[in-house]
Symmetry: C2
Subunit: 227 residues, 2 copies
């Protein structure tokens, strides 16, 4: 591996509030010509996320790669063959039986493979430890461990940035203001129910609303949908 | 995560000589009822490997899961869009431009996700440091790093076993004899050219032949094809 460019970065972009904020953090930190984004099409229930990610990268003028992942649904499908109850309905906040542990390990490994191919030395992910909802791979020591595994396993001097790791949702809103992400956030997706306009009632909508309320800022998505 | 069973193991099985030997090492180590296998269908050029893996697990009477991975070919495809030369012919021993770095990180993460779902506390992989051919993720310190990332990222007390890590090819043949893998090896696949019977001339065939020659043992695949 030669000539890794440590001035460039790839952002793992889901199309949600956090990763959209990270995209604009990266644009501010690395400069517009140095940032690209990767999203994953893994059969997520809310494919509206991918449309949001597309629109947000278009608005920002950054290159956007969408990589397919069919393995999660195949792994989820093993629930069907192993006498595990597959619930018809997953309660809000609960992990579905098709939950794939270590999803961020996979996302970051693939993002690193893409970065390796393009000699790009930085990855950015919007995971946050403060509101981690039972996902251990969102914590900083997990991210440090996967960074180490990637560095050794790919012989690749990559750095994984987690600008939101220790921020509250209100602080994330303030960061979004600081790095010019507000316009993009008007097109980001959060609602667990996949609704556009968002349902406003699910835990994801509630957390988002509370963050903006605590920061005393109007959610640009709410503002956009009013007009 | 509760009640992880540390008496059970999942073997990452390609259908080649090394992973087939590992399957039988696992059967000897953990006992027949405690071993299952996972293979990956990732668009490998030699799909005969998957047929071999199927036959070898059937012969051993172990459960076999084949998981699809479409992401590697999508990542490989990025070479087509990024002005990287795509060679028509890949020289023997060279990495193709569609090489995905960190492939074993992905395999082991998915194998661990499967093990997590089934509460199985051991993984077995046939990677070996002694003849690692430019693949840094075959080395023990890479395996240790991914084990650590999986443990933290999944909160899962899993152990990754690498019984061949420091063995020469001749010692691997001796291990295969010790653990009763010889019959299965008659159906394993090695040839880079995907030929059955093997071409005998490519580097993979040469390395395999040299290992059996050094161990002064007849390759059961060669013996089978003679009859």
């Amino acid at each position: 591996m030669t000539d890794t460019n440590h001035d460039k970065a790839i952002v793992v972009l889901s199309g949600g509030q956090d990763s959209t904020t990270c995209l604009h953090w990266a644009l501010k930190t690395f400069g517009k010509g140095n940032v690209s984004a990767v999203s994953f099409d893994y059969g997520q229930r809310h494919r509206i996320e991918l449309d949001c990610a597309r629109q947000i990268t278009e608005m920002a003028g950054v290159k956007h790669t969408i990589l397919p992942i069919d393995t999660f649904s195949a792994l989820g499908g093993t629930a069907l063959t192993d006498d595990i109850d597959v619930p018809e309905h997953v309660d809000e906040g609960e992990l579905p039986s098709t939950f794939v542990p270590g999803r961020n390990l996979v996302f970051l490994t693939y993002a690193a493979a893409l970065a390796y191919q393009q000699c790009i030395g930085n990855l950015v992910t919007g995971v946050a430890q403060t509101d981690y909802s039972g996902y251990p791979d969102c914590r900083q020591h997990s991210i440090d461990a996967i960074e180490n595994a990637i560095r050794l396993g790919m012989e690749f001097d990559v750095t994984i940035h987690t600008p939101l790791m220790y921020l509250t949702k209100a602080e994330t809103v303030e960061l979004a203001q600081d790095c010019g992400a507000m316009k993009a956030l008007a097109f980001s997706h959060t609602c667990y129910n996949g609704k556009q306009p968002p349902c406003g009632a699910c835990p994801a909508c509630e957390i988002r609303a509370r963050g903006f309320a605590d920061a005393e800022v109007e959610d640009p998505l709410v503002a956009r949908l009013k007009t």
